[in-house]
Symmetry: C2
Amino acid sequence: MNIILSNSSGVPIYEQIEQQLKDMIIAGTLAEGEMLPSMRFLAKELRISLITTKRAYEELERDGFIETRVGIGCFVKPKNMDMVREQTMCQMEEHLNEAVSKADLCDVSLKELTDILTIIYEERHKK
Amino acid sequence: MNIILSNSSGVPIYEQIEQQLKDMIIAGTLAEGEMLPSMRFLAKELRISLITTKRAYEELERDGFIETRVGIGCFVKPKNMDMVREQTMCQMEEHLNEAVSKADLCDVSLKELTDILTIIYEERHKK
DNA sequence: TAGGTGTGTATATTATATATATACACCTAT
DNA sequence: ATAGGTGTATATATATAATATACACACCTA
């Protein structure tokens, strides 16, 4: 399971796990119906407490991404793609919004802004 | 003093104050040498504790944005514009980076991305 | 120069959120 | 039945956010 935790980021561990699992589900890396690593397994792998992974899984279930079967495991639910896409788009726009705020403080022009965005995008798609 | 606090954001109050004051200093709304509202005044205005405003001011002083004179008040320090600009640019790029991550999850193309960015930018500069 | 009123400071306290250890209950295969 | 996997519940420790209250310093004015 490719999950990377940062202690210094200030973001709670359970949120980091939650977000990364969510991304994997949206991207299809974790397929519909597939079983997630057990809470214990993941906790041991990440060297954290069982309770912390449980917390992450609880949030994922609350948001409709996974389904829990007591005594068996947690499974990726069929997802409402329209809803998921809309939510992710909202987050995306929020980040663009913040970027523009910062750009204004530095007198960065729209052209410079889109240039930087383009570089970041292409850098990411080279790999 | 135009400071807006959100209880629901999850961001600590002192950080919200800190960030907004920082932005005002960078933008020049709060000019070099100018006195900030006293901790008590701001606390009363925002209906929060004196300690919370103090915490915000402490962080600003730590980061070199203001200077405290006991018994007198807090004042905007002359700032190293190159450093400030560089830091803000970093934050800006970080947001663009996150935006691209989200875009990838939704299969949003570079063109769509720059279009949305442009709309947000222009919307902001209309006012 | 005494005192009032402004300023920032320090200490102790409360509430909330994060992360934990440990013991419990459920499911399935042997 | 029971061993060994699964998720669950309770009580606890720790860190952080926010607070109330009392203190100390600076300036102005009577």
